[in-house]
C-alpha cells in the first residue's frame, strides 16, 4: 500500500530549510508559495529520505479567488506519496515555475494546464498549446469561460 505522507510533517521539514515557503498544510497536502515551489520540489526529489522520483500527475484547479496547481508525487523506491500544491492569485498572469528540469513528465502536463487553464509555467522549454489549436482564444477550463 502506498503510504500517504502527512502533509504537516513534510511542511515542518520544508519550513526548516525554506522559512516562509509553506502557505498552509493539512494531513493530505502541503501548499507552498509559487516563488519557492522549484526549491521545494528540488528538495522533495533529491532528499534521500523522501526521494520523490515520480511525478505522476500535474493539474490545475480554478477556485475563482486563485488558481491551484496540484502535483501528485510518488516515490517508487519507498512507495510513499505526497500532494504538493501552489497557488497564484493573479488571474491575468498566473505564473508558476516549471518543474520540467526535475521531472520530465511535467512537460506535456504543464502544456495542458497552460492550454486549458492559462497557467504560465516559467522556464518551460516549449510552452505552447497542447490540445487546442494555436489560434484559440481563452482557456476553457477556467470557471469564467462559458
Amino acid at each position: 500500500m502506498t503510504t500517504a505522507l502527512v502533509g504537516e510533517q513534510i511542511a515542518k521539514e520544508i519550513t526548516e530549510l525554506f522559512p516562509g515557503a509553506v502557505v498552509v498544510a493539512d494531513k493530505a497536502a502541503v501548499v507552498v508559495t509559487s516563488e519557492s515551489l522549484y526549491q521545494v520540489a528540488d528538495f522533495l526529489k533529491n532528499t534521500p529520505a523522501l526521494d520523490f522520483d515520480y511525478l505522476t500527475n500535474l493539474t490545475a484547479v480554478d477556485y475563482v479567488d486563485y488558481f491551484e496547481v496540484v502535483y501528485h508525487l510518488i516515490s517508487l523506491k519507498s512507495n510513499h506519496s505526497l500532494v504538493l500544491k501552489t497557488r497564484c492569485h493573479d488571474r491575468d498572469k498566473p505564473v508558476v515555475p516549471s518543474v520540467v528540469n526535475l521531472w520530465r513528465s511535467a512537460d506535456f502536463q504543464e502544456r495542458e494546464a497552460y492550454d486549458l487553464m492559462g497557467i504560465i509555467f516559467d522556464g518551460h522549454p516549449n510552452l505552447k498549446r497542447l490540445l487546442l489549436w494555436e489560434g484559440f482564444v481563452g482557456h476553457p477550463l477556467r470557471r469564467d469561460y462559458l
Binding site: M1, T2, A28, D53, Y54, L55, T56, N57, T59, V61, D62, V70, H72, L76, N79, V83, W103, R104, S105, D107, F108, Q109, L116, R129, L130, L131, L132, W133, P140, L141
Partner: protein, 367 residues
C-alpha cells in the same frame, strides 16, 4: 564517402494508418534517420473535462468509456473507484469480484489488440492481428452478454455494477479462461522466437530505466524498462490483494521487452480470472446510492493500473451534484513524453514500431 544532406521535415499523420488514430508526428529526418520528433495531439479533443463539470457524477460515467475506448470497462472502474473514495461508499462483495473479472478481461482484450497491432506494424500485415482479434471477439461477446454493448459499456455504477451477469456468462467465461493459455502458447510459438520479430524489435527503441521513471512512464512501458511497479500490487485497490499473481518485467526496455511484458501480463490476467471465478460470491451487485450524489467537500486522486498504464482521476467536490473539477491522468499521453528518447537515431520504419510498442489510444490522449 559521406553525402551531406539537408535535414527535412516530414509530417506523419494525422491520417496515417500506423498512427493508431488521429495522431501527428512532426519528424525531422536526415535521410532515413530520425533526428527529432515532436508529437502533435488534440485532433480528437472533445473537452471531456469541461463537459463533466456540468453533469452529475453518474452522468459522467459514459464519458469515461470514450477515453481509452479499447479498454472502456477499466476507465469506468477508475472513475467509479475515485468517486466512491470521495463519497466513502462501500460496495457489495459480488460487485467487487465482477469488477475484477471485467477489468482483467479488458486487460486481455486491450493487450491482444496492442500485440496484434505491434506485429502488424512490424510488417506481418493483418494475419497475426486477426488471430488476436479472434480471441478479443470472444471477450466482446462476453461484454455484450453483461451490458449489451461491445465498445462503450457504461457497465460500472457508483456503488457497484449496473446489473448482475446473466446465467450463461460464467460458463462462457470459464471456457475462455480454459482455452486462452493454449492460444497464448500458440502465439508465443509463432511470434516470440520469430526471427523477423526479434531482428526488428530487439535492441530497438530502448527506454532506459531512469528516463522511464523521470518521464513518469507507466504500465507495460515502465515495467519493460525493468521497474517492478504495478499499482495492483504497489497500491492495491478494490480487492486485488486477495489474488495471487506476478508482475512481469523486462530487462532493457526495448520494443521486444514491451511486447513480452504484455504477453506475460495476459497470462497473469488469466490467473486472476481463474481465482476470481472460483471465489465469486452470491449477493447484491450494487449498493444503495442516493440518486443525486453529493460527495462532501474535498478532493481525491484515485489511480488504477489500466492496461496502458496508470489511469488516474483527480476529482474536486464542492458538495454539489456535479464535480467542481474533473481531471483525467491519461497514461498514454504521458508515456509519449519519452517517445523522442526512444526513436532518435533510428530509421523511420523503427519509429513506426516503437510508437506502436507504446500502445496509445487517442481517445484518451486528447480527451
Amino acid at each position: 564517402m559521406v553525402i551531406k544532406t539537408e535535414p527535412f521535415i516530414l509530417n506523419m499523420g494525422p491520417q496515417h494508418p500506423s498512427t493508431h488514430g488521429v495522431f501527428r508526428m512532426r519528424v525531422t529526418l536526415d535521410g532515413e534517420v530520425v533526428v527529432d520528433v515532436e508529437p502533435i495531439i488534440g485532433y480528437l479533443h472533445r473537452g471531456i473535462e469541461k463537459l463533466a463539470e456540468g453533469r452529475t457524477y453518474t452522468q459522467n460515467i459514459p464519458f469515461t468509456d470514450r477515453l481509452d475506448y479499447v479498454a472502456s470497462m477499466t476507465n469506468n472502474l477508475a472513475y467509479v473507484l475515485a468517486v466512491e473514495k470521495l463519497a466513502g461508499i462501500e460496495i457489495p462483495e459480488r460487485a467487487e469480484y465482477l469488477r475484477i473479472i471485467m477489468a482483467e478481461s479488458m486487460r486481455i482484450a486491450s493487450h491482444l489488440m496492442a500485440v496484434g497491432f505491434f506485429i502488424n506494424d512490424l510488417g506481418a500485415l493483418m494475419t497475426p492481428m486477426l488471430y488476436m482479434w479472434r480471441e478479443r471477439e470472444k471477450l466482446l461477446d462476453l461484454f455484450e452478454m453483461v451490458c449489451g454493448q461491445r465498445l462503450t459499456y457504461n457497465y460500472m455504477r457508483i456503488g457497484g455494477v449496473s446489473h448482475d451477469v446473466p446465467e450463461d456468462f460464467l460458463p462462457a467465461l470459464k471456457r475462455f479462461v480454459a482455452e486462452m493459455p493454449r492460444f497464448l502458447d500458440e502465439y508465443d510459438q509463432l511470434l516470440s522466437q520469430n526471427e523477423i520479430v526479434l531482428v526488428r524489435s530487439k535492441g530497438v527503441g530502448i527506454l532506459p530505466r531512469e528516463t522511464a521513471i523521470n518521464t513518469a512512464a507507466s504500465g507495460p512501458v515502465l515495467r519493460a524498462s525493468g521497474v517492478k511497479w504495478d499499482i495492483r500490487k504497489a497500491d492495491p485497490y478494490s480487492i486485488y490483494e486477495r489474488f495471487d499473481f506476478e508482475i512481469p518485467v523486462g530487462t532493457v526496455g526495448d520494443n521486444y521487452d514491451r511486447y513480452r511484458v504484455r504477453v506475460q501480463e495476459m497470462r497473469q490476467s488469466v490467473r486472476i480470472l481463474e481465482q476470481a471465478i472460483a471465489q465469486l460470491p452470491e449477493g447484491e451487485v450494487c449498493a444503495e446510492v442516493p440518486h443525486s450524489l453529493r460527495p462532501p467537500v474535498g478532493e481525491v486522486y484515485g489511480h488504477i493500473e489500466a492496461p496502458k498504464g496508470e489511469l488516474g482521476f483527480y476529482l474536486v467536490s464542492d458538495n454539489s451534484i456535479a464535480p467542481y473539477r474533473f481531471h483525467i491522468r491519461p497514461p498514454t499521453m504521458i508515456n509519449l513524453t519519452a517517445l523522442k528518447d526512444m526513436v532518435v537515431g533510428w530509421k523511420v520504419a523503427d519509429l513506426i514500431i516503437t510508437f506502436g510498442s507504446i500502445d496509445v489510444c487517442l481517445g484518451e490522449i486528447d480527451r
